[in-house]
């Protein structure tokens, strides 16, 4: 049995991986954060029903996914995206907080190694949340080039993060 404050603490600790999962449905960071807040409120209201942190987080993932799909259906009249069944498979394998925390710290350092141009590309896409077509127009690139550049940057950042985490292990 969890108390409301323990529910809030447990969910806040998992905020980043959870919102990332919800964003794979909403494709909108702000909407994903709204979903997360709704899920927190629901979880606190049902505090007595959870028996472990794992159960709570699993429930939050399912509840948030369903809520995100509902919101899209209400807003757009339909949901076009990954199937429920595939989202459920992804949920089971989704990175947990420990892994994400370590990645988060490393990513900040890796970002510093990017060229200003590449940082600007990521900023427009992920901070300003501009559609890729708009990013392409602003940066004077073709749309397909922007997709490929983003894919390359993701790969480079992923490699950099893995490298830094290996170094961290050696630091101990």
């Amino acid at each position: 049995m969890f108390r409301p404050e323990e529910i809030a603490a447990a969910l806040l600790a998992e905020r980043l991986p959870l919102t990332a999962y919800f964003a794979s449905v909403t494709r909108d960071f702000h909407l994903a954060e709204d979903v997360f807040q709704e899920v927190c409120a629901k979880a606190v209201a049902r505090a007595g029903e959870f028996e472990s942190a794992v159960q709570l987080v699993n429930w939050a993932r399912v509840a948030g996914r369903n809520r995100a799909i509902d919101i899209l259906r209400t807003r757009d009249g339909r949901h076009v995206g990954l199937s429920d069944e595939l989202l459920a498979v992804l949920a089971e394998e989704w990175p947990r907080r420990a892994e994400v925390d370590a990645m988060h710290e490393a990513l900040e350092h890796c970002l510093e190694e990017l060229t200003p141009h590449n940082r600007e590309l990521l900023r427009l896409r992920y901070f300003e949340q501009r559609r890729c077509a708009e990013v392409a127009e602003r940066m004077g690139r073709k749309l397909e080039t922007v997709y490929q550049a983003l894919a390359r940057l993701h790969k480079a950042l992923g490699d950099c993060v893995r490298g830094r985490l290996k170094d961290e292990e050696a630091w101990a």
Binding site: A20, Y21, S24, R27, H30, L90, A98, L107, F127, H154
Partner: protein
Amino acid sequence: MTDAEFLTLVMRHQDGALSPKELAALESELRGDAARRRLFASAQVRAQMLHEQFRRAAFRVVSEPKTRHTACRERVRNWLPYAAAACVAMSLLGGWLLARHGTVARLGALENCRWMDSSWNPSRGDALRRGQRVELSAGSAVVEFGCGAVTTLRGPVVLEVLSAKSARLHLGAALTVADTPAARGFTLHTRHSRIVDLGTKFVTTADADGRVRVEVSSGEVVVHADGHPAPQHLSEGASLTLEPGRARVMVRVEHGDGSPAFRFPTLPPPTDGDDADARQGKARITVAAGTLHAPEGRPQDNSAPADVLLDGHGQQDADAPGESAFIEDRSSGALLLDLGAAVRVERIHTYSWHQNPKVESNRGRAHQRYVLYGSADDTAPPVSENAPDAGWEWIAQVNTDEHFGVAQSVAERPSQQVCAITSSNGTLGRYRWLLWWMPRSDNRSMRFNANPFYGEFDVFAAPESKDETTTTETIK
């Protein structure tokens, strides 16, 4: 499909630009290959992190490297552009605000605001009336009060404007700058406390579960917790957490002068005059879960026995494993204190100190991170991660990194720290047993998951009063 092609497809998915055929191709890749699912999840998580890191960077103004004691001040500085702009606006508005009936404050600069009520679409300069709520989902909004105080909100946050000189923070974080003579005395209320400004800048955070944290960057504030007879004075660099719950537990954290004297701004150094001290001969401390640090082949790095925590003093040196009790790294553990009999516990102080002599940035074991439980039973309840299930009563949760705003590097940590746990009603509770549950850090970075060097635990109990004895006898 190569990894590069697959990632390009993922980018198109994030952009909402997949055709039905491409969506089917993406699903097919994800269904049949766990490595692809992992790649997809990593890209999603990375996108979320990038969003948050850019957002944080956008609010960051000062680019100088953090020094160890400036984390709190830096967090406040991050708010300052908004607050400064609002101050200028306030000087122009003058007393006009107060002249308007019912208007006690006004909205200042608004940045990327998303309001909880989507039908509300205010503009800079809009009047705020007594009792009006500012409910911000995301972004930053400035509220300029009639007295000259300026509060900068960062969503998600709910602030209720009470008067030209007061407000209630229901949820979220607010930076208040009230450093003019007219603004002195500005009061920010939370669920169970009020924070009165004495000419300062301070950040208040109210969590959904009722926990409130106050951090002062300059000047001084007074915190009145409900039911607490003595107000808490906080000055520059100090912070205070008010825990939710019946006992109104307060957690106060300060950094020391980095000397064996363990001097702190307001809290006392370790003492042998407390009720748990070895000299009193009543208390005993043991390791109840996990093990103390004892690396194979390096006896010089071994933790001291747990009873070093009751010897009446802290470490004599900043890097003294032999004078510190600390749990094995990458592990959780628990220390159990038996006070010999159930007593009314008034205060608990815990001290830590670590600074690697060769690497200035290495203060990996200086922080404090634990959950404190108590029990008045004759025998200690079983010890496990789910202590409340076993009958333990929750007292407080401590994470000094939270207080000092340590997020990116352990170099931001003060090397010497004290944590004082007190209660607004005088006593934390009646306990014979105290349990410090020290959770394993989930952070994979060794810089963050080394367990801290604790040097001393002091527990102060209230004297058993005659009145209490008489009452007990009468009941018998």
